[in-house]
């Protein structure tokens, strides 16, 4: 295939061909993506054709109040795959962690990318947005993250909130939330947002969203929390391979007991799988190696909002954060006092062995008929 265009002009198909991935490789990738996105298999050829024709799309990646775990999980690829190449292809025009050593040159790149791709770039955010005290708790180049987000989101086509911090506030938002951390959707309300929660999120989910966007020009179907329905439509509980044990009532009681070794359900050890929507049980982690439950630990619920503040990780869903002993003792005391007052009031109102005043004394009664007084 002859390609006179430079790397910046070439299509995704041409770039892949240059790297040794032919039509069949791309079609196979599309088949895998349609399965992952829960699309009908017959869509795969159309997806492959659209991907082959796709041109570079600008992505600006802003990292706010985060631990860099999301970026690490998404950009570390153990094997060179088409997914990884697509990440290369999407032209990561600006990313602070990767460009840190470039200094002010990186900032110039950012402004150029925004100007060149106005209205067309994807804005990817990881990390929460602190808003307390004017947003001073996370700043880049003298500008608060909050101001940066508002500024750059204004000309974005869509926003990807990557990780639970960006989606819902995550760890920085955990009680008492000293920095006033919030998710992207609490700041930006006038742009399409896709939340890809998880602490960190599964890399395949971001691939799926990007591929859908590149191939079809639109974001995939979202649920009521703006998460891609294909990946977050079911709970961990619904897909878990240990579900038969749950249904049979076979639970591990502690981390090293017989039940745990036999792979029984971890519900009693605090697993939050029943209320957590994610694809961990089907897609798994580290190239399909395993996921927390398979490794013997209950689900933390890390893709749900406020998962840090839902009671302990080892408190089962059957329990809750009940009252402490002191408030219970106070309540008991109130009850004793109240009941005693009620009883004393009742006692003083009526004396059961005193006859009522209206009954006359025996001496005042007339003698019975036929008897003398």
């Amino acid at each position: 295939m002859n390609n006179a265009r430079g790397p910046d002009d070439e299509t995704l198909g041409e770039m892949l061909a240059r790297r040794g991935f032919g039509r069949r490789s791309l079609l196979k990738f599309a088949i895998a993506m349609t399965s992952s996105l829960a699309l009908p298999p017959l869509v795969a050829p159309a997806m492959a054709a659209n991907l082959a024709k796709a041109r570079r799309r600008s992505v600006i990646w802003l990292s706010f109040q985060e631990c860099t775990g999301c970026l690490e999980t998404l950009l570390r690829s153990s094997t060179p795959t088409i997914s990884a190449l697509i990440f290369d292809f999407i032209s990561l025009d600006y990313q602070e962690a990767l460009m840190a050593s470039a200094g002010s040159a990186a900032t110039r790149t950012l402004h150029e990318a925004i100007a060149t791709n106005k209205g067309e770039y994807l804005l990817a955010i990881d990390g929460s947005v602190p808003v307390a005290d004017g947003g001073v708790y996370s700043m880049t180049g003298g500008q608060s993250n909050h101001a940066m987000l508002v500024d750059i989101a204004a000309n974005a086509k869509a926003i990807l909130a990557i990780g639970t911090c960006a989606a819902y506030g995550g760890i920085p938002k955990a009680h008492p939330n000293p920095t006033g951390a919030v998710g992207v959707e609490d700041v930006i309300t006038d742009k399409p947002i896709v939340n890809i929660p998880g602490c960190p999120p599964i890399p395949d989910v971001l691939s799926g969203v990007l591929v859908h966007f590149i191939a079809f020009g639109k974001l995939p179907e979202l649920d009521d929390r703006k998460r891609p329905l294909a990946y977050f439509g079911t709970t961990i509980h619904d897909q878990c391979y240990r579900r038969p044990f749950y249904d049979q009532g076979k639970f591990a009681k502690s981390f090293d007991d017989e039940g745990a070794r036999l792979g029984w359900c971890l519900f009693e050890l605090g697993c939050k799988g029943p209320i957590t929507h994610n694809a961990c049980a089907s897609l798994k982690w580290n190239g399909g190696t395993s996921f927390p439950i398979e490794s013997g630990h209950g689900c933390l619920g890390c893709s749900e909002p406020d998962f840090w503040d839902k009671g302990g990780f080892y408190t089962s869903l059957a329990g809750g954060s009940g009252t402490g002993w002191r408030p219970a003792a106070v309540a008991a005391g109130i009850g004793v006092v109240g009941g005693s007052i009620a009883a004393l009031t009742a006692r003083n109102r009526a004396r059961p062995d005193t006859p009522p005043a209206s009954v006359p004394a025996a001496a005042a009664l007339p003698p019975p008929a036929g008897t003398s007084p």
Binding site: M1, F21, G22, R23, R24, S25, L27, K28, F29, I31, A32, T34, S35, S36, A38, P40, P41, L42, A44, P45, S78, T79, P80, T81, I82, T234, D238, Q239, R243, P244, D247, G287, G288
Partner: protein, 138 residues
């Protein structure tokens, strides 16, 4: 996906066989290819094995090396293929039942064949005239 194991594997397999039958009918009537994404179904490993056994094996197995190993095996029913795709790490990324004369991924398209002709004749003194079926030494 809700766990449907209480229905029994037989019911699920019968339902899938009916769907394969309707895809075959559709191909016979309209020449349209069909497919069923097995990874998208709530099938236990035992149910998958039972389905594979029910479909049986045919005469043709096609192996593909493109961004990882893939295999398409014709089942005991002509035109019904059991296709498995793995990535470079050997992890299965798709499992399909395809209803077609040959799985869609197998035949090269015309652009690839034209490209092959170009490469084949590029460094030789042999050319083939368009429309002719004989080569000519230049």
């Amino acid at each position: 996906m809700t766990n449907y194991s209480f229905l029994g594997d037989d019911a699920l397999i019968d339902a899938l066989m009916m769907e394969i039958a309707s895809l075959l009918r559709n191909f016979i009537d309209n020449r349209e290819h069909g497919g069923i994404d097995l990874l998208g179904m709530p099938l236990s490993p035992e149910c998958l094995a039972a389905l594979e056994a029910r479909l049986g094996s045919g005469e043709v197995t096609i192996r593909l090396d493109a961004a990882g190993r893939s295999e398409s095996r014709e089942t005991g029913f002509a035109g019904v293929w059991w296709t498995s795709h793995c990535d470079e790490a050997g992890r299965r990324v798709a499992l399909l039942i395809e209803v077609a004369p040959v799985p869609d991924i197998v035949p090269p398209d015309i652009c690839e064949i034209e490209g092959a002709l170009s490469r084949l004749t590029a460094n030789t003194n042999f050319a083939v005239r368009r429309g002719g079926n004989r080569g000519t030494f230049i």
